[in-house]
Amino acid sequence: MSDNVESYVLFELADNVYALPSRNVLHIEMFEHVTLVPNANPAIDGVVFSRGQVMPALNLRVRFGLPREKNTVRTRIIFTTIHDRAVGLIVDSAREFRSFPASELRPVEETLTGINDKYLRAVVKLRERVVLILDLEAVLNLNDVQLPSEALTLVENTTSKV
């Protein structure tokens, strides 16, 4: 059996375990500082500087429509790369690497999680838990998220004053 074993980075988000292929991960860092970028998509927390590059930081919770959480010491930025792009994903925590043979990947069943299954590529069932393998390309494609029309105008005063 020639099974393609691939290594994955496992991370957590709202009590679910997700995974990204290691080849799509540049490195992982503690969450420290993010610079706001006006008018970016709401899921974009801003830009971060890492290893000589300025990269967008995408809040995966917001991206999946989950409530935003305060950053903790466990919060991590996973710097991912795909098609010459480099984007940081803000996740609740990231701690381990695992390798799965391709034969263990199962198709995604709907209603498995709260999130839209179009961001998932496959599911791996470990003994004690389910690992959801992300479709990074789909996650980074924000064109399907409707921007509020005001967001196209750069300047808005704080709504509190209106």
């Binding site: 420290e32 610079t35 706001l36 006006p38 970016a40 974009i44 801003g46 105008t153 005063n157 704080t158």
Partner: protein, 667 residues
């Protein structure tokens, strides 16, 4: 072993060839434009002809070195023609000029094909035309070849020069140079060998030959009076010498069409550097070495007795070092600058070529050719500018008949203009043609299902033009169909940290304006802060900084504004930009931001300082937003956004009325 292809040619040699070829072609193009004025005059400007002659001659030489026989032959025959012209034996006719231009274009194509390892275009008919030009009707005298054409190398000429050399009692020697790492380390390479050979005799031919082991040998055919005396000396330099027997001079039959193409490096981005600029770099480096040694002395002192360290001296060294570094950076920046003439000079040929096959008359005006830009930018702008010029020709300019009917001058004008504005270079492509018909654009946009803007102003039109997939009926035609579309033009300009704008008036003409940073990497900025958010504003777009009281800010038609000089300046709050809570402060800093589009006042809490920053373009689409031109990092690992002065003043970024009724600013 008549392998004339250059497989495995030293990459550096090829790079040099391409750089040099470009340089000669540029010189040729510029000289040809000057020559145009000499058409049908008894004697064309001798200086220009001489200049052309030299360029073609050098071109021939370098083509021979890399074994590009086709280019060698074309350049050689062109040289013959120019020689006649120089000696006054022939006049320059319009036809003659055209043939010269065709030859230039052919050389360009040959080099391009060689570079891309594509089959070489055929050049025989051109060669025939050139030869015909050499036999001008008035001239019955046979064309005499200069006896000592030093690089005679097209094959017929090679035979003549071999015969001719023999007739002068010269012997033919074959010098074979085998480059190796060891020899190279001693400073011996094909160029130095070549130079030394020139002292020995005439180089009739040089051929790179690939041996079976992949080793490369350069064979030089030398005509010399005396036998070489220093054979051993040559051998230490990797050169073997062989006398060719009288009869069987082996001359490889050249058939350029059969040439296979060689793997070579991607086109190099070579910058030729003025020695003076390098000297300056050297001087600054020397200064830095001195600073460093002073610093070391102080550090040593610190080790011995920290009380005796002269803090002022250390600070001075640090200051000096900083100064040198800045100078070094500036000097390097200058080294990278090349004149836009590198791109502009090819445009007349493009336009001439297009005009010949159409019923349009166009005059191309070039201005500001000396404007210098970063080499990288120049390279990247070649295709976009070519596209804009072609666009102007095929979409902008009307046919002669149409122009006459409208009472316009017969000849249309396309103008390419480069100029400096602060830290930017502005390149305009303007035509006096029919302008853009908004309805036609609208129809096309609808057909393609593009978003239809409410107001079809220039900006909206540009947006549609730059939508990917947008094309007009003409796009398949010769002029506009090749190369890149407006989408690519726009994307390139943005990627380079620049902006593209359009002005068009129906019946009057169209103007595209590209605004690009002078250099990519560094910008002088003001670091400002508001509500805890820090950002950088390019100093080139800041006209002045004022301190204003809160009560000076008024609300006019729902937009905040402040009296400024004799007018009113719209105000953008930095806090508003970042949607931060607007903490009321009695005093603000107001940066007057100015671009060719207008002025606004940017309101910040304070100015933290002035910094030169390295600009990083935000490439990812997730963070490409209006009003932000890039980001930088000030040494603390936190990115700081760089505001885009042009976008801030464009009106796109002006506060929408409904969001702008600050409670505290009562009128």
């Amino acid at each position: 072993m008549n392998n004339r292809n250059a497989t495995g040619l030293d990459a550096e040699l090829l790079n040099d060839f391409f750089a040099e070829a470009d340089e000669h072609l540029l010189g040729i193009r510029q000289a040809l434009l000057q020559l145009e004025a000499s058409v049908n005059k008894a004697q064309p400007d001798p200086k220009v002809v001489e200049n052309l002659f030299r360029n073609f001659h050098s071109f021939k030489g370098i083509s021979a070195i890399v074994g590009l026989g086709a280019a060698e032959a074309v350049a050689h025959t062109t040289e013959d023609f120019l020689r006649l012209m120089r000696s006054g034996k022939t006049q320059l006719s319009a036809k003659g000029l055209e043939v010269l231009m065709a030859a230039t274009q052919k050389l360009e194509q040959l080099v391009a094909a060689f570079r891309q390892q594509k089959p070489l275009p055929s050049y025989e008919s051109l060669l025939a035309e050139l030869k015909q030009q050499c036999e001008t009707p008035s001239d019955s005298e046979p064309v005499t070849k200069l006896p000592t054409a030093p690089m005679a190398a097209s094959d017929t000429t090679l035979w003549t020069s071999v015969d001719e050399a023999r007739s002068r009692g010269l012997q033919l020697w074959k010098y074979a140079f085998t480059p190796s790492k060891k020899i190279n380390a001693q400073g011996v390479n094909v160029n130095t060998v070549r130079e030394q050979l020139l002292k020995v005799g005439e180089i009739l031919k040089s051929t790179p030959i690939i041996k079976a082991q992949g080793e490369i040998v350069f064979e030089f055919l030398i005509a010399a009076r005396n036998a070489p005396t220093d054979i051993a000396d040559w051998e230490t330099r990797g050169v073997t010498i062989q006398l060719l027997p009288q009869e069987e001079t082996e001359i490889p039959a050249a058939s350029p069409e059969e040439e296979t193409h060689n793997p070579f490096l991607a086109p190099s981005h070579v910058v030729r550097v003025d020695l003076k600029k390098l000297d300056e770099l050297m001087r600054i480096t020397g200064e830095m070495v001195i600073h460093r040694s002073r610093l070391e002395t102080q550090i040593a002192q610190l080790n011995r007795d920290s009380r005796r360290v002269d803090l002022r001296a250390v600070q001075e060294v640090s200051g000096g070092l900083g100064r040198s570094l800045r100078e070094l950076r500036e000097a390097i920046t200058r080294v990278r600058l090349v004149p836009v003439a590198e791109i502009f000079a090819r445009m007349p040929f493009v336009v001439r070529d297009l005009a010949r096959q159409s019923d349009k008359k166009v005059q191309l005006k070039l201005e500001g050719q000396d404007t210098a830009m970063d080499k990288y930018l120049i390279e990247r702008l070649k295709d976009p500018l070519l596209h804009l010029v072609r666009n102007a020709f095929s979409h902008g300019v009307e046919t002669t008949a149409e122009r006459v009917a409208m009472g316009k001058p017969e000849t249309a004008v396309i103008e390419l203009r480069a100029s400096n504005a602060g830290d930017s270079v502005i390149i305009e492509v303007r035509d006096d043609g029919q302008g853009i018909n908004p309805n036609a654009i609208l129809q096309q946009a609808k057909k393609l299902g593009l978003e239809i803007p409410e107001v079809l102003d220039n900006e909206a039109i540009l947006k549609i033009l730059c939508a990917s997939g947008f094309s007009t009926r003409d796009d398949a035609d010769r002029a506009a169909g090749r190369g890149v579309g407006m989408a690519v033009v726009n994307a390139t300009v943005r990627e380079l940290g620049g902006s593209l704008t359009l002005e068009s008036e129906e019946g009057r003409g169209t103007r595209f304006t590209l605004r690009l940073p002078l250099t990519l990497a560094i910008a002088e900025t003001l670091i400002v802060e508001a509500g805890g958010q820090t950002c950088a504003v390019p100093q080139s777009s800041v006209r002045e900084v004022l301190h204003v009281q809160d009560e000076q800010i008024k609300t006019v038609n729902g937009v905040e504004a402040i009296p400024y000089r004799t007018a009113v300046l719209p105000v953008i709050r930095l806090t508003g930009l970042f949607r931060l809570k607007n903490v009321s402060k009695p005093k603000h800093c107001l940066l007057v931001i100015e671009s060719e589009r207008g002025s606004i006042g940017l309101l910040a809490d304070q100015i933290l300082g002035q910094r030169e920053v390295v600009v990083r373009v935000l490439r990812d689409p997730l963070v490409q937003v209006k009003g932000i031109s890039g980001a930088t990092e000030l040494g603390d690992g936190k990115p700081v956004l760089i505001l885009d002065g042009a976008a801030l003043t464009s009106g796109n970024v002006r506060p929408p009325e409904r969001f702008n009724t600050p409670a505290k600013t009562s009128m």
